[in-house]
Symmetry: D2
Subunit: 304 residues, 4 copies
């Protein structure tokens, strides 16, 4: 397996040249597009190759954290009563939402507007507490007490996040955010700026792969049904508007972020963390998808 991982990484390294580093936040454009890393966590041991230790910001993969904690806090039914789970066919930062109201069915938790709403469902008496709970949960599910926010990226997100601000005020206008919009956005921007590496993502994925259970400690981190729910949502909408294509070529639940990360989990088998910041036009890591495709085919990982 270790050899297999290394070979896949080397064979896919050239695809880093086919994408572009995200530029919509100035800080993200500083990433090195040639970096590439992979980490595979299994119950029996871990395998890794390349730049798996390099830190990067989690970006949209934080949407899975919002959804897991909001579902744990409120139950899946409550969450689904407010945001739907249909793929929308829209890009992650779409603004063309239908009037006269923001329909529940149009707000997917894996696109920005839905993720902001779900972030606000994490139980807390203040947004400061909400942030602390999200950090504690992140450290626990990734088994890494050292996790920190990247302050430069956070400042950059906060400064340039006017489209997210627009989306949040639309939610506010539809009574889908309680309390301060700006404070909730601070939590959202901060969590998207969480600094992680491939191992962090692989460990979170391993928990999902084992239906909520940390196989190292035996702890049930999230309820089994929540993990099944997460895997379904990730499969239908985890890779932005490239989710359908990804299902046909890779066939495992996964979530990508514009920082270049992908978290992917094979139910019952393994958790995978990927890093390669050169993105395709949909915002997914080009080399990352290629590595997962080859790995899926060679190890017969597809759930289909």
């Amino acid at each position: 397996m270790q050899h297999c991982i290394e070979e896949i990484l080397e064979n896919c390294r050239r695809y880093t040249l086919d994408g572009e580093v995200a530029s919509y936040i100035p800080e993200l454009s500083k990433a090195n597009r040639e970096e590439i890393g992979i980490y595979v966590a299994t119950e029996d041991g871990d395998f890794f190759a390349g730049d798996w230790e390099k830190p990067f910001t989690i970006q949209s993969i934080a949407k899975t954290i919002f959804l897991m904690l909001a579902a744990k806090d409120n139950g899946i039914d409550f969450v689904k009563a407010h945001v739907g789970v249909e793929a929308t066919g829209k890009s992650f930062n779409a603004i063309d939402y239908a009037e006269p109201l923001l329909l529940r069915e149009h707000i997917n938790p894996m696109v920005n507007i839905g993720a902001i709403a779900v972030c606000g469902m994490v139980k807390a008496v203040s947004n400061e507490e909400r942030f602390q709970r999200l950090m504690t949960f992140s450290r626990r599910i990734m088994e890494n007490d050292e996790l920190q926010i990247d302050e430069e990226v956070y400042a950059s997100e906060k400064k340039t996040g006017n489209k997210n601000r627009a989306l949040a005020y639309l939610l506010k206008n539809s009574d889908m955010i309680y309390g301060s919009v700006e404070e909730l956005l601070d939590v959202y921007f901060a969590m998207c700026s969480l600094k992680v590496n491939c191992r962090d993502l692989a460990r979170m994925a391993l928990v999902l792969a084992h239906h909520g259970k940390n196989v190292h400690t035996g702890e049930q981190v999230i309820p089994e049904e929540d993990a099944v729910f997460m895997n379904a949502v990730l499969t239908t909408s985890g890779m932005y508007d490239g989710s359908g294509e990804f299902a046909t070529t890779v066939g495992i639940p996964a979530k990508s972020g514009v920082g270049g990360g992908i978290m992917a989990d094979c139910p019952g088998r393994m958790g995978i963390g990927i890093y390669s910041p050169a993105l395709d036009k949909k915002g997914n890591s080009v080399a990352g998808i290629r590595m997962l495709e080859v790995l899926s085919k060679s190890q017969k990982l597809s759930i289909f």
Copy 2:
């Protein structure tokens, strides 16, 4: 003429029952739907009937003020380089704007998103100065030094204006607003809360009817070409997404507001101010449109 005006008002009074008072801002819902007034200003004298002295908030008719002052400050070409003049087929507070960018062609100065952008084009070193200049201009074009903001409506707009906030952050995201979004929105909300009556609107309309000239004082308030430009814009998009229908049944440049007001001008002939707060589904005064239709037909006012 005076008799004609009175008769029209009485005949159209019953249409006040066909509409609903605006409710999207709590303060507006306090209006008395049975009120109805009209004021006709001509070079040779004024005519009026009904509740023409009752004050109401100007609301979207302020969009004409933003556009006149922004055009005067920057020239029509500058304004048109940033906001288009095509009817969009969208309701006044639409949010479904096309990505990947806010296209100039989709932003009409007579719908909210365009009006906020145009408001920001009024020259000033601060938003406080911007507001003062707009107030001074309003008092001058309406020949009324007593004009004031309705503080209750302003507070209500500011508190509940989250959709306008969303639109403004979209503009900010496209670099179409400079400086503070919240401060600019304060100017926008305040000007929409300007308290006017039918005479105020009729006098502003008379200036447009005489191509920018105040026929009482001889002063050229806005350039002639700006007045022609305004009349064209009002004709194609002054009555929200009811502008086409209004052109076929009434046929004069006009702008409505959800406070129940309509300002209408007949080039070369007269300025008209209307008040009747019962609105149709597009946000236009039901009885107001009926009065204008009958007046247009009886006086042959249509420009077509």
Copy 3:
């Protein structure tokens, strides 16, 4: 006036280089983009310059013929009960119509889908009779008994008109077309292939300018109120999604066609026919609009 017309044409000739001849029908792409002609018809005499005698196909200007005859046959209210008169903000051959039904308010008679519906409202027991009545009406309003269909263009339209076919079947699906879709499309395609020159358009425009009356013969070709209605519709939506801009720069009712023609009328004053087949991206004649802009400014033709 004759001298003025000639000078305007020469000064605007260079704009023929700024556009492209229509290519969506193979036959249209054979036009000579350097051709340019103008014809001004007034009660007191006619003026003309350039290629005013060159024949071209009427294309979308036929939409005015459909609307005039359908309104004459059924009354304006009947027509407006089925198709709206709001500018849609869409291009002439848009297909993205809202579900669950084709809303009357979204179907403007000056865009393809609305024009096909209106064509079907022309009273006839067969589509053959419908076509003959439209031809007779065209010859009468243009005072030209020689008018013929361009058979090559007609064949080309029929062969490649699959988008119009799609629009027609949408109408059929909403019960807005009775009888054979293909037969009605034949009428539509044939009438769009009507061969006219600048004088033909100018004479039709002169009838509209005199509110339905042929000033040469004294005949009331269409009712006065229909002519006023037409002028309103042309002003708000006659120049495709460039109508708002045209209103601000030229300010007269007009209809363009992708064959390079523009019919424009100045109420009470004159009818204008334009030909110059180099089009802008919206499908309007570039040099044609420029000639009208200069003419409007020099002769103070704007209705605003």
Copy 4:
């Protein structure tokens, strides 16, 4: 298992009252909304309950037949080069397709417009041969040589299918259909009118569940990779715009039709055929989804 199936059917019978029989085709509205049947096919034996023998028309489930045969004929890559596999967030008969062209990414093979395009990719020198090949393939994959078209439903589809006609002409306009549109639609309408019962669907599903292999005969009906591809597509978009919700509550690849059928397959385990014609607003069988949800939970069938 047999007992389990019977119990599930009885417990879910009441949900037949929560839906409505399809009415958009007159013939479909004749269905008895109280009928309900289920058939489970496994390698080791079959189980069934209720009205599993009742025939009904396959409707949209035919889309899987088009896609399987087109992929077999041309390869998956060819098919995906013309139609995408992203969920569109649109209802099955949506018409609001984006201009200026029909983007591959907007055309999913599980919605009407994509299915018509894919139907046309089935190799044949004539549409008559195309139809015969589709029938032969259907009989083979369902192991039923008796399969026939329901002539009444076919006639009804053909007569009222103007929206599908519109979609087909849009495809034609984008060069995505070769040859006669009407003939291809005949094939499409006929195949949607294929008369099947629960066993037929279960057997087709069993082939997909065993990755293309008929476990009774040992024959590889479609290539293994095609079956994996089909399961991915069905998971992300097989249940119209209810696919995301279905993935979270049931979690198995499935395709529904407005005739009341659902074909569902559990990779490696079983094929399921469902019939219950009372539909929810998205066009899916209400009681059918409920039966699958209970079955999935009790037998732990979810792939997530």
